[in-house]
């Protein structure tokens, strides 16, 4: 069976934590592992993660299972920057790790699409309002594609620097199978690169999603 690309949620001394949603056969097998069992990991892969150095007041927006790679970012960036956090979920059932994320945020918004928990609506609408009044110097986003597209558009309109972490199906994670191709603009040239090797985090200005 092919490996599954899973982001790191939390690093705590000698422990690395992963949080994932059971979606198919692979994640089902992983979720049935017992304490003490060994798992075979290949990584970390890619070109690292979000670049938050030098920021003072940042917005972190995540949707669904896309919130997991944002935890370590919030933890690290918190030392120097104010954290405005916007997490969106489909409904109450999908809300996870609320307390953990809340602890790291100076401002915390949690939304559900249907209003069964937190504020009703989309997380991005709250971010949109805050961009008008707050001096947010960088947006960091991870989540479902429609959300990322909306964040990318908002960042462009408001001229706010933005980094997005992309999720793709991957065969190898090493840049060999070429399955996770994504179009980027390099100057006037449009080229394809790969989420596993060049990403998963991209400047939202250069990536086409």
């Amino acid at each position: 069976m092919l490996r599954r690309p899973i982001s790191i949620y939390n690093i705590d001394r000698n422990n690395i934590e992963f949080v994932f949603q059971v979606k198919g056969k692979g994640t089902r097998i992983l979720s049935s592992k017992e304490e003490g069992e060994e798992i075979d990991i290949l990584g970390p892969l890619g070109k690292g993660t979000f670049k938050y150095e030098g920021t003072k007041n940042i917005a972190i927006i995540g949707g669904g299972i896309g919130i997991f790679p944002l935890y370590e970012l919030a933890k690290s960036a918190k030392e120097t920057a104010k954290i405005n956090m916007y997490l969106g979920f489909r409904n109450k059932e999908f809300v996870v790790l609320e307390e953990e994320y809340k602890k790291l945020a100076d401002k915390f918004i949690l939304t559900t699409d249907d209003g069964t928990y937190g504020s009703k609506g989309y997380a991005i609408d709250f971010l949109k309002e805050d961009l008008k009044k707050n001096n947010i110097d960088m947006i960091f986003a991870c989540g479902p594609l429609p959300m990322l597209k909306a964040v990318q558009k908002l960042a462009k309109e408001t001229n706010t620097p933005c980094q997005i972490s992309l999720e793709e199906r991957m065969g190898c994670g090493l840049g060999v199978c070429l399955g996770c191709a994504v179009k980027v603009n390099a100057g006037e040239q449009e080229i394809y690169t790969h989420v596993c090797k060049a990403g998963p985090v991209f400047d939202s200005n250069i990536v086409e999603i």
């Binding site: 069976m1 290949l42 994670g173 090493l174 199978c177 070429l178």
Partner: protein, 237 residues
Amino acid sequence: MLNSIGLQNPGIEYFMQNDLPWLKKFDTKIIVNACGSSVEEYVELAKVLNTLDIDGVELNLSCPNVKSGCMAFGTSYEGVKEVTSKVRKVLDKPLIVKLTPNVTDITEPAKGAEDAGADGVSLINTLLGMSIDIEKQRPVLANNMGGLSGPAIKPVAVRMVYQVAKAVNIPVLGLGGIVNGRDVIEFMLAGATAISIGTGNFIEPEISIKAINEVEDYMKRHDIEDINTIIGQVQMN
């Protein structure tokens, strides 16, 4: 693995300037897989490849994910023979033809390659497959259908390698779902002179080294001195 990745690559010039010098740093043979969208393009590619410091060429007549070309040539005796003989005329290097399993009788295109002067055939490429997301009621792949590879296709590959090895006199390079030394032995018993591993590398990047070690263990257990002595030695029931 079911994929519709296709043959994304920046072309032969980029390969010559970037990939080949990088590959040259390693002490290994370099066999270039080439695919064109017309007979003329195959010939053009072969002419360029003939000038390079490489060890051989594998003609891809079998990718299911490319709209024009490739598989269209690979499904018949005549099609394979036509492309292969035109390439053969301009290529002095060892020439392998990679065959598609998406045919009724795999020995036909294999004979086409042999009759056109190919030095070997490799098989199998991926099997055309489709997977449907039952919640969305749409195919999982954006391209709807794609090529199936990995352990799921191994019995089909072993069968076809056996059939082709019986039908032609040129060496057969076996592939399709090999992930360990036992699989290597199985392909060799079926008639493969050499094997290659594709999808298995995605699961375990060091898979080839492990497979070779396992083959050596098998040789010890079975008192085999020369691995070539097992090629095609399966005893049919």
